[in-house]
Symmetry: D3
């Protein structure tokens, strides 16, 4: 179980990337896809906003939880350079029958970041598909 | 006790509605109302922003927590069609001495949505009265 | 004719106020009001955002177009204190058959500010009813 | 020449749609496309925000420039239903060598709206590709 | 341990202040400061946005968690009047080797508010340095 | 005279930088400075948002007004790298008695960009000091 803990600090940095996607399950017939996913079966796209939250004790020498430049480098290499200006359905993350929904993308981003940032230090991945919809994931 | 749980996904959709209200307790004298509520006793209004958060396991077939169209239908029928272009003090929710504060409205919206979405699936109701003030409610 | 002029500086300050209103023309029957204005006939409300733009030459001693504290005092006294926490239909501006639409309110605010700020210095009144709709007025 | 005119009111309504696109000129070689357009040659997407501004005299009976419901209907039918959940490169507007840039899309939206709203009443089309870039077009 | 509790309401008010700061540890050499903090060693500044969250039971007489005017007075006197238009490095909070990072400022604001609002009623201090970075602190 | 012209496209890109400043005229006594500028005499800071608007005819081969990467390079080299993480009063632009007001900074940015972008192509510099105040400048 993970929860806000006393004494810890939670720091969140926002990132953006633009990507295309469609909801389409290759194992289903076109009719079934259209019935379940409607107009989402058509290729379209979003400006995604990603919020990465890390938590931990403040380094009392620097007053910082983590060097922000380092956080930007890690998220840039693992996530935004991969997904920015991309068609999500063509990413290995969404091969097979995995649909590039906001839910699945948020979980995929967690799996990409946890080994780099530490599953304990990584607190939450929040992914906005547009200004009206976001998904939070706190890990498996 | 309710808290973020590992493996679960939390999905939030924003809705808006415009309504009028005043802070006025019929059982009090006008003097007492003005002393406690000040200029809030005068009829005024807001563009409310409502964030409804549901949580649960992802449906691995669709990659979604819940069909968003269905969520929009439920919240539309139970909440936004009821409160949009309305005077909150005239809503049955605020009969008697219940004041249409943001706190009370957030709790009322929870009570309207929980039976429809499931008290376990509904995680949080966040209600913004304006861009500087919001109330969170996680259920009774 | 008024237009952006070379050498001039245009400075815009945002203000907010919350008010209730309804679209209702007393000289019309209820049926006619409902036919023309629909659900806007019901009392509801908004968080208005007002942008006041003044223009002119920079005072080279202070580097400012106008003292911002003075601008806030003028707009506060003439506009926001008048309309904040108010029911617009009860304001003298909307007596008779004048409907408190965003268009009419923007023109009314111009008329309140022009004598105080100078019709030449006042460049534009922009009034947002909500984040999806705004009206600009450049004077009569 | 078109410019803000005294006495007129300018009303702006915001709309949103999500679409995919890529910058690719069929008449060019892949090398030339990549040299000029870089990573924009890859399919990606955006949440577009469209601001449609109309101008004119206020109808003194209704206090409105134009019925907003009618404006929403016109823009919905001509623009947002066409481009929302679409791949812009597959739209007839971008057949041949026309690239679905923000500039071209803004001009295309003008051409779709002007016959419906009137080229004189339609004042400006503003199109945001994301929160850091927008294009304004005032007609041909 | 602190966590969202059933039946409680969480109310958040946003405040803003503008301040200058630099990251500089007097006990370190200039070289060491520049190596660790880079361009942050130079004096610069931010428009900070502070979100103060209080939680508790709703007062059923007023429908409010706490009088908002009282909350504004407390935060104004303890925090925004102190830090607005200030150079953070010159504040007693950052004497010695404490760096005015967002993390340290969020913890300092908690310590200033907890005695005034009650450590139990004060739930969270969220401090935005700019629209891309914020820190949450739930107390010691 | 400069104004929106038919057939032209106006493209705006937003940039951000963080800087410190104070309002202080060396040629004045401290008393006079405090009387005119009040709390602005104290060192504080802002997250500035700069909007650079260029205008012209669309290049029908590329569908673009100007390569955005080139625009970012020019504004980055001439403006944001200069002012980000800086104390504006120490910039040569504000030597002597020039106060780093938003008005003066907007004009200074125009003068830095016009030779690089062309005074005819550069249409407007808009500078936000914070989300409540911005200045527009259309050139000398």
């Amino acid at each position: 179980m993970k929860r806000p803990e006393s004494g810890l600090v939670y720091a969140t940095r926002r990132f953006t990337f633009s990507a295309a996607h469609r909801y389409w399950r290759p194992g289903w017939s076109p009719e079934e896809n259209r019935k379940v996913f409607g107009s989402l079966t058509q290729v379209h796209g979003h400006n995604y906003t990603l919020e990465v939250t890390i938590r931990g004790l403040v380094d009392e020498r620097t007053g910082m939880l983590m060097d922000l430049g380092e956080l930007k480098r890690v998220v840039g290499e693992a996530v935004t350079q991969r997904f920015d200006h991309s068609h999500l359905n063509e990413d290995p993350l969404f091969s097979g029958d995995a649909i590039p929904t906001t839910e699945n993308l948020a979980r995929g981003i967690w799996d990409l970041l946890a080994p780099k940032l530490g599953a304990d230090r990584l607190w939450r991945v929040r992914l906005w598909e547009d200004p009206t919809f976001y998904v939070d994931y706190y890990g498996p």
